[in-house]
Symmetry: C2
Subunit: 339 residues, 2 copies
DNA sequence: TTGAAAGCGATACCAC
DNA sequence: GTGGTATCGCTTTCAA
C-alpha cells in the first residue's frame, strides 16, 4: 500500500534503477536532467518515503547510532545529562547519523539487552552509564556488524572504546576539600533510590581513598531516600553519628539534607559542612549557599566526532578517549567554622 | 560476515525454514525436539542475532514505536517527564513493542522530520510536546504504514489521536488561586529559553482567561532567563511593575525569582505572592515554602495500553483520549497577607 | 517432519 | 542515458 520505488518508477515511466540513482544523488552524468525532474516530481506526488529496512538489508547496516540507557537510571538524570543527550543527538545528525535512544530495561540480562540492540544492526552503540556491557556483549555487537562500541561512563569492557567519567574523582575532590577545611568525620550520603548505585558507590570509594591518606579521618556511609521524611529521620539522629562533614551525593540530596539538619537545630557550616555535586543553580539560592562539585562532561560535539570517526575507521584499536573532570565550587555551606 | 539464518541452518544441518520455525517458537508439532535442540545450539554457538530489517521488510512493519521529542525541549524536561518516558518505554516492551526515542532537531521542517521517522516504518509514532506534527505529516506517516499517530500534549492534528495535556489549565489554576487570595495584578513569567514557548504561551493564556472573568484584574507577562543575573535585574525593577502576584512558569523559575525578590527587599508573600508549577520537592525546602501547581500526567501504563490497542486496531477513529489534570498545592509563598 | 522457493524494497553492477 | 537483474536475510506457503 505505501508507495515503493517501483511505484515511483512506473509513475515516472522509468526503471527502478533510474529512480534509485536520482533519489540518491548519483545521477550526475548518468540520467538526463529532464528525467531527473520527472522522477523527483513522481516521488513528491506519491509521497514516497524510502524504506529504511530495505536499505539496511542491502547495505548491511542501518545508519543508526544507538544510545543505550538503563531505564531505571533515566529518571535520575539531571538537566546536565539530558542536555548532553539532546546535544549529542543533534551533533550526530549533522554527521548524517541517526541517533536513537534505546532503553535497557533493568530486568534483562546484559546478553538479552544487547541482542535487542544488535537486531537493529546499528552502526554504533554508545552505552551510557549503567547500561550493561560485558566482553561477550561487545563481541555479539561486533559480530553482528556494529562498527563501534563505546562505553560512556564506566571503564569500557574489553573490545569497547571508552569515554571515561570518573565518579571516584567526584568523591575525591569533595573529600579533599573537606579535609583541607579541617573536617575529619565525613558522612557520605548513599541514596537508596534504584539505579544510583553506579554513581554513588564509586563516589564513596573516592572519598575513602582520599580519607585513607589523612590520619584521623573517618568515613561513614549514610543511607538517604529522596523524601522529607527520610531526611528528617536522618537529621534526628545526626548528633549521634558524630560527623562534622557530609558529602551528600549531589546537590538535590544535599539541599534536602541541609534543610532537615537546619530544622533539627544543627548548624551548617558551623556544626557540619555540606558538599553536593552537579553545581545546580538552585544550590546558590539556599542560605547558606551550597558548596558543590562541578562535573564537566565531555562536550557532545567531541563525542559525536569520535563516534563518527570510529564508524568510518572501524579498525581503530579500542581506547579510552577522554575523561570528565571535577572541580570544587566552594560556597558557604562548607566554610571553615570561625572558631 | 555476521551469521545469518542460513549459517545456522548449515551448521545444524537443516533448512532455513526449520531454523525460522524453531527460533520463533512455531515449531510445536512441526519440528522434532531433537532437531529443535540442534538448531538452538547452533544459533547459540554462532552468536546468531536475527536481522530486524529483514524481518520488517518481510512483515511490513518494524515493531518500533517512535517517541518523538523536539531536541531543544529535552534539556528542559524535569524528572516528571523523563520518568514518564522511561516508564513508558518499559511498558511498551511488556507489550512486545520496541520504544525508541527519536529527536526532532529544531531546524528541520515538520515534513523533513516526519520523513526521517517514516523511513523507519514504525508501528506507531507518539509525538511528545513540541514535536512538529501537522496534517500533512500525519498523512505521510499513515501512508507509509504507521498504524497509529498520537500527539502527546498539544491538541492533535487532524487524523492523529491525542493525549491532551492542558497547559492552559495550569495557568488557570494558578490564576484562580491568586485571585481568590485577593491578588489583582498578576505577573506571568515567560522564560526566554528556547523551546519553552509551547508550555509558557498556553499557561499565559490560561491566566489571561481566568483574569478576564475578574473585574480589576491585570495580567503582565515578564521575561526571565534562568540565570541569577536575569532574576536580579527583574527584581530590581519589580516595584515599578506594581504587581502583587506572580505565576513563575515552574518551580525552578519561581525559586530563582523568589530569592532575587527577597534579596531586593520585596517581601514574599507580603508584597507579592509567588506560585510555581511541577510541585518539586525542592520547593518545600525554601522559606517561605513554595506554592505550586501539581500536574498529573497520564499514567505511562495507560498510554502504552492505548498505543498497543491502536496498533492492533488501526481503524479506531482519531480521538482525544485522556487529559492531564492540575491542582494547586497551597504553601507559604502565596498566603494572604495578614493585613 | 522437513525442504524448496517466492517475495518484501532498495541498490548497484553490467549490458544495451 | 537507461534498464534488467542478482542480492541482502527472513518468513511462510506449499509440496514432498
Amino acid at each position: 500500500m505505501p508507495p515503493t520505488s517501483t511505484s515511483v518508477a512506473r509513475y515516472a515511466g522509468v526503471s527502478r534503477a533510474t529512480v534509485s540513482y536520482v533519489l540518491n544523488g548519483l545521477a550526475a552524468g548518468r540520467v538526463s536532467p529532464a528525467t531527473q525532474e520527472k522522477v523527483r516530481e513522481a516521488a513528491e506526488e506519491l509521497g514516497y518515503v524510502p524504506h529504511a529496512a530495505a536499505r539496511s538489508l542491502r547495505s548491511g547496516s542501518s545508519g543508526l547510532v544507538l544510545i543505550a540507557v538503563p531505564a531505571d537510571v533515566v529518571p535520575a538524570f539531571g538537566p546536565l545529562f539530558t542536555g548532553f543527550i539532546a546535544a549529542f543527538q543533534a551533533e550526530l545528525q549533522a554527521y548524517g547519523h541517526t541517533g536513537v535512544l534505546h532503553g535497557a530495561s533493568a530486568g534483562d540480562t546484559p546478553q538479552a539487552a544487547v541482542r535487542a540492540w544488535a537486531e537493529l544492526r546499528p552502526a554504533a552503540v554508545i552505552a551510557m552509564i549503567g547500561a550493561p556491557l560485558d566482553e561477550a556483549s561487545v563481541e555479539i555487537l561486533k559480530r553482528s556488524g556494529t562498527f563501534a562500541v563505546v562505553s560512556y561512563g564506566p571503564p569500557p569492557a574489553p573490545g569497547a572504546h571508552g569515554i571515561a567519567m570518573d565518579q571516584e574523582e567526584v568523591g575525591a575532590v569533595a573529600a579533599a576539600h573537606l579535609l583541607a577545611g579541617g573536617r575529619r568525620d565525613i558522612g557520605v550520603v548513599v541514596p537508596v533510590e534504584h539505579g544510583l548505585g553506579l554513581f554513588s558507590q564509586p563516589r564513596l570509594k573516592g572519598v575513602r581513598a582520599v580519607a585513607a591518606t589523612c590520619p584521623g579521618a573517618r568515613v561513614v556511609p549514610v543511607e538517604l531516600a529522596y523524601t522529607e521524611e527520610s531526611a528528617a529521620e536522618l537529621a534526628d539522629r545526626w548528633r549521634d553519628l558524630g560527623l562534622d562533614a557530609v558529602f551528600a551525593y549531589n546537590d538535590e540530596y544535599a539541599m534536602l539534607l541541609m534543610r532537615a539538619l537546619q530544622d533539627a537545630g544543627v548548624d551548617v557550616p558551623g556544626d557540619v559542612a555540606v558538599v553536593g555535586a552537579d553545581d545546580l543553580l538552585l544550590g546558590r539560592l539556599l542560605r547558606p549557599t551550597l558548596t558543590s562539585v562541578r562535573i564537566e562532561l565531555p562536550p557532545p560535539a567531541e563525542v559525536a566526532a569520535l563516534v563518527d570517526r570510529l564508524i568510518r575507521e572501524p579498525e581503530t584499536p579500542p581506547a579510552v578517549h577522554r575523561r570528565s573532570t571535577a572541580h570544587i565550587e566552594v560556597r558557604e555551606s562548607s566554610r571553615r567554622p570561625a572558631g
